[in-house]
Point group: C2
Chain length 213, copies 2
């Protein structure tokens, strides 16, 4: 199980400083959509150059222009990129094709999908590497949580293809781990913690422990 | 009727040079998603500073973090921003709220929506300024065209709230104009034309003519 640190609302210099501090406890660095909107794909390049041995995920949330946008991420050094699960199949396939050519990975973000099981199975058949149940930040205060979707999908999608994101913290990660995701995405659960290194260490320990069990 | 020039795959300096050449024939400058991915929101700022009297549309295709992302666009000088129609209502509402506070506009991009009529009516009730039928670039070679959706929606949405995008050119704009959209988005139809100024002039003339009729 891998821990992905989602860097969303912060400055790129601050992001790099935080990763430097806690990189021993995380596996994947996510350059979130707002950072890419603010700084462009250069943010991905800077982070990958700063941490060449770590996986870097560019959260582009591609909805159209699959090949063009995926190539921009891969060319900048991203190891993986996101396509929206609500995008047309042609877009998903274009992103997958680009990833194959570059030897990189594709994560399909399930945000906004209504028929989760059916769409996840379609995406799996198309060949995305990861399917991420994702509770949008805009609906987290309505009591939504990725756990319900994760349990639904873990019956039809191999566990090593599942990722979960959206409001996960040290005190809520256990259930997510038990439901079985290969990638656990944590943002504010680490970034807003009083001690970031301690929060990252705690969460990562749980993933390692569960991974061995 | 307004003509929106979609700048997608080109360099920002080239984009500014093109707008300078044809600005008398266009009403809205669209900073497309790929430009924002490459150059970040600074692209919007540069274009607005170069053409302060023209409308600038930032095609962010917001899917989550509605307030945060919309504010980044408005702060950079965008007059309008796009939210994906497939986003959660909470996200759409956050973008609308932000636009109200800044005195700007919101365009909901219908790309990927299955029940177009129902969703368009919901978006209209929520208060988006424009609803854009949009044939994704990735499916234009499959024979899809915005005209069918536009005709569907023109029965339930006021014409002055409708926009149309996706593969529109000088020789296909007539039907779109007749179906009745307030904003016509053209990208390659102008950018890839042998004479860009002539293409923009031709298209704009048709909008002006139809607008008066």
């Amino acid at each position: 199980m891998k821990l992905q640190l989602a860097l969303d609302t912060i400055d790129i210099d601050e992001a790099i400083a935080i990763v430097r501090q806690i990189k021993n406890h995380i596996d994947i660095i996510e350059i979130g959509t707002p950072i890419i909107i603010r700084d462009g794909i250069a943010a991905v390049r800077r982070v990958k150059e700063s941490f060449p041995d770590m996986e870097v995920f560019a959260d582009l949330k591609i909805m159209d222009g699959g090949r063009l946008e995926a190539e921009m991420a891969f060319e900048a050094g991203a190891d993986s990129v996101s396509v929206l699960a609500v995008a047309y199949d042609a877009t998903v396939q274009a992103v997958i094709q680009s990833a194959k050519e570059w030897g990189r990975s594709v994560l399909a973000d399930m945000i906004g999908v209504k028929e989760q099981t059916r769409r996840a199975m379609e995406l799996d058949r198309m060949g995305v590497d990861y399917i991420c149940v994702h509770t949008a930040s805009d609906i987290q205060n309505q009591g939504f949580h990725p756990l319900v979707s994760l349990r639904q999908l873990s019956g039809v999608i191999p566990r090593n293809k599942l990722a979960a994101a959206g409001g996960i913290r040290a005190d809520t990660v256990d259930e997510i781990v038990r439901a079985g995701a290969h990638i656990i995405v944590v943002g504010q659960g680490i970034l807003a913690a009083p001690d970031r290194e301690k929060a990252a260490f705690e969460i990562k320990s749980k993933l390692v422990h569960e991974g061995r069990a």
